[in-house]
Symmetry: D2
């Protein structure tokens, strides 16, 4: 960290900050500039928050030198993390992984149909919500455990891994009993009790980006899970909130190559939520793969018009099969497969 | 709702949508324009989500006529809601209410000191976190129940109401035992299980705005609580995330007069989190009152430099007393008091 | 347009608005709902601004049915517009076009070197700024006409088309004398005098998206140019401003497939400005092509470290050649070429 | 500036950067940390852009120590700048200044009526656009010089100063002939030729904040004007673009007290454009004054419903008189007047 003193900071204030830095067990190095004095901190600054120093007398600002996360960082580990998904598939390797299925589990027959169709088309995992966070209290809230049972049945029938959302720490054991991957939704990215609970069980965790989270905050959320001992963490970009109105969210694909540089964790993209519009899902899926995504998460529904939620962004099984073909070509063009 | 058909929509598609609207128990009215056909829906559109119609064949877009919330709406209730806070104080009335205290409860003695100081200066309630959501897993996480005990002791000593954060549905009974007002933090604004649990107990609920939530989404979150039977809901503007960098968040004060038009619920402003900088807290507090806020929530700490969190935005007790004097004059200038 | 009346609007207010609509030469159609009365406007609403009706007594809000642009709209023209670029190249057709070159023209020799290198690698046009908008008044401001001369010389030597920025209406004749394509920069997207001047001369115009412009505002800016009689307009996505900090701007690639649906104009992507970081340029270029961009605009410099501006996002000629090879494979994977 | 080297940077790379810093006539100071080496630059870093160093080999990032502007900075000048406005009024002093008038000059009689009304109510200057930047090419574009003549006549009749927008460098002499203050609009905040031209003439300049500009970028734009020798610069906050939808823009009032710390220039607030809704103008005006604004800029129209533009945010003369009374009380409450 670098503590920048105000131009009118007194010698006493500088000395005070030097002592403060020492009390945090870091080594201060004072540089007297022509307009400002700055104090550089030598040592591991991560346990120190900016706030602990910004409050000091005569301090103008504090600049961070190191990223605030450690276990999630590319520097902490040689090579990329691989997370198993379904029968013999490793997410994060050469083959791009597709997770597909309905937004919400609505009934057993329909789920099984979709599961068979997406498996046939090339998916490695089935998604579907049993517990649903709904913005509107008057909307359908999900089938709960019954939905989990249907998901597990669909796995038995197809061999697809099951990815489903968990919404509170108390649901973790229940969901972990049925699912292969626990999904933590965008609205829970900073639900720290939930992150901790997910970090203390053995199933993989798919962590969606918060809709107003910076990439560093997202990696800090991953760090919560990793720091509990669970290293099976998958990141999922799903769009952020901006002023744009032509899509529900702004799918920020540059996070994909950025994360490839800064973390070893596999990274998925969800173009269904990230755009909110069916016609944009396939082109943005291709784009996601082209810039390096390790996988996609796609909403597929047999009858989008009658779906309880997210109909406008759901593909039909035929639409999904088309997407797979077109994405496979892009994957091969960059030396991967799908 | 208004369903706008595409310019190339066929008669069959229009007829299909007319039937679809009828199946939702609404009355369709078709208007054939020069470039588009639109279908107006007559009846209560609230249980219908945009998505249910956007997916239809030939549909270009669907426009909402009514706000999606009902109980929270100014139309649903004559006059403004009042929420009791501490000894004989009603938030939402003529007198502006001040809630003050440390970000986090750190120890008993320090908390009591701050409580006495803010009471003396004019506060009606004490804030302080026993459970803390921290972005960084390596930061201090709060004293938990011990912190709640100290808060209750401070209430006994001062008569201040206690406002403290609850982070999960399971914590609700525990926190409700000690607190007068349950605070739901910005990162939990759309934690629906928590909203529901808070709606099913009798203590007042202070609902902070999500950092990327529109005002309508915020009112829908309030609707979750209200729909469970708890009508003691307080809204708290605390800044939203934008591209701006001179403050931690962008305190969007226009939400205050907007909410005064659209909801009957009382509205607070938190200029401490909303700016993240001590020197901005007092001017923005005056501004909040000037545009109609019913109260303020202010971080106060005896020794901000040594505080475990949020030091840079905490006022000293002296700073808080100064703020109160200056805000009182503004309150009186607009016909209120403090 | 749909005029939504307030729930407490009187019959007089509704009648007033009905008359107001008639005075705008549109046909009002009144729909009395259970909670609101709405008035649908039949006719071409484009010359009417929302503001003209929002101000009426008893009006709650006004909803737009038609997009505000017309000439730029996909409905106004069968097929896609093609804009010639360099020797026998048409932007907007099957072949993806590459525009490459330095941020700023710095000297003759260096420019020629870069021009030869990018031509060799596969570019069809040369970019380079002679007039530079610089955020900081103390930065280098460009070579002005001398720079234009060098660009024209480079065209003569290589056959590349020349794309360069014009910053004010007065510069239009000068720049049009040397350039094949006039670039209107992001900070000038709503400089209406400039748009009009560019619309009144015969050279093609490359219109960059404003850094806080919605797609509809961008298309309205294109409409300004088109409405003056110049139909050679190219759109260029270059990132928008959001809260994100891992890139200088947020490259919003979903605008590409969205524009393919809503306009006939060709669409470029500028991943150099859109990310601000060299290591992200190639992956985001591939993504842009994968989701349908008709071309790319890439900064290339012989010695990025010594470049006067935008060094961190400039590729070396070798880096650019690598990008071309990798993008070509993606273009072919989606049935195009490069 | 602080150059942070990558964790794997070699000694050669560090040495290279040390030389590079010296070549920029700054003194490098190397600090070897436990995980990173950083190089602190001693000297005036302002002429150096981040980019010049970020591109260096082995560099991870570059952090700025000093603000990039100098003449605009509070450190560059003792006390606050005062800008004369109308008869014997100084903007930036104790008395808060009101600028009021129609969005656009529509006709002579109507303008004079509004001018008399706002003068009577307490305004010190008249606003009104003769040249209008309109998002939609089909909207009314202003009366041009005829509008300027009417404004000057209104000044003669009332003694109000005239504030009007200039849209291009060529208009500067014409507008400066009639106006007392040249307004540079939000869409032109980074039109550098215009800033330069405005800096080279003697009339005061009102610089609106760009709708996606950070405060530092805004001050750099002011620096452009100041660096040409014109020190009569007024800043005007008018809202920024965010995801919020309840107002047209998000009026970011925290910029007011922030600017009071960081610059000596006077600061206005425009709550009319900043909210886009008449009912929010008065409360946000009070808020602006309460947090320290030196003045307000308010749209007033005799017949908002029939106004050519911005009707929904225009006050009637009666509404403006009400605003003045209510704002005066707030001004007095904080020790100023109006």
């Amino acid at each position: 960290m670098i503590v920048v003193m105000r131009s009118d900071a007194t010698k006493e204030q500088v000395d005070h900050m030097v002592e403060r830095v020492r009390s945090l067990e870091l080594k201060p190095q004072v540089i007297v500039g022509t307009e400002r004095t700055v104090i550089a901190l030598v040592g591991d600054e991560r346990p120190v928050s900016l706030e602990m120093l910004e409050t000091g007398p005569g301090v103008e600002k504090v600049l961070r030198v190191l990223a605030p996360y450690k276990l999630a960082s590319a520097e902490s580990r040689k090579g990329r993390s691989l997370v198993p998904l379904g029968e013999g598939f490793q997410l994060g390797g050469t083959r791009v992984g597709l997770i597909a299925g309905p937004c919400t589990v609505e009934d057993r027959g329909r789920l099984l149909e979709v599961a068979c169709a997406v498996k046939e088309a090339g998916a490695v995992a089935l998604r579907g919500g049993a517990f649903k966070p709904r913005t509107n209290p008057y909307s359908f809230q999900g089938l709960a455990e019954e939905g989990l049972v249907y998901l597990a049945e669909a796995r038995d029938a197809t061999g697809l891994a099951v990815v489903t959302e968990v919404m509170s720490p108390e649901q973790v054991p229940l969901v972990a009993r049925y699912a292969d991957v626990l999904q933590i939704g965008t609205r829970n990215m900073q639900n720290y009790d939930l992150l901790r609970a997910a970090g203390q069980q053995p199933k993989a965790v798919l962590l969606k980006r918060g809709l107003a989270a910076t990439v560093d905050e997202w990696l800090l959320a991953a760090e919560y899970i990793l720091s509990q001992g669970n290293d099976q963490v998958i990141l999922c970009e799903r769009g952020v909130r901006t002023f744009e109105q032509h899509t529900r969210f702004t799918l920020s694909l540059s996070s994909v190559p950025h994360l490839k540089e800064f973390t070893h964790l596999p990274i998925l993209v969800d173009p269904s939520h990230g755009t909110g519009r069916r016609s944009l899902v396939e082109p943005m899926s291709r784009a996601a793969i082209a810039c390096g995504a390790d996988g996609l998460m796609i909403e597929v529904h047999n009858d989008p018009e009658m779906s309880f939620s997210d109909g406008p962004q759901s593909l039909t099984p035929e639409g999904f099969a088309h997407l797979v073909t077109s994405c496979r070509r892009v994957a091969q063009a960059i030396g991967r497969d799908l």
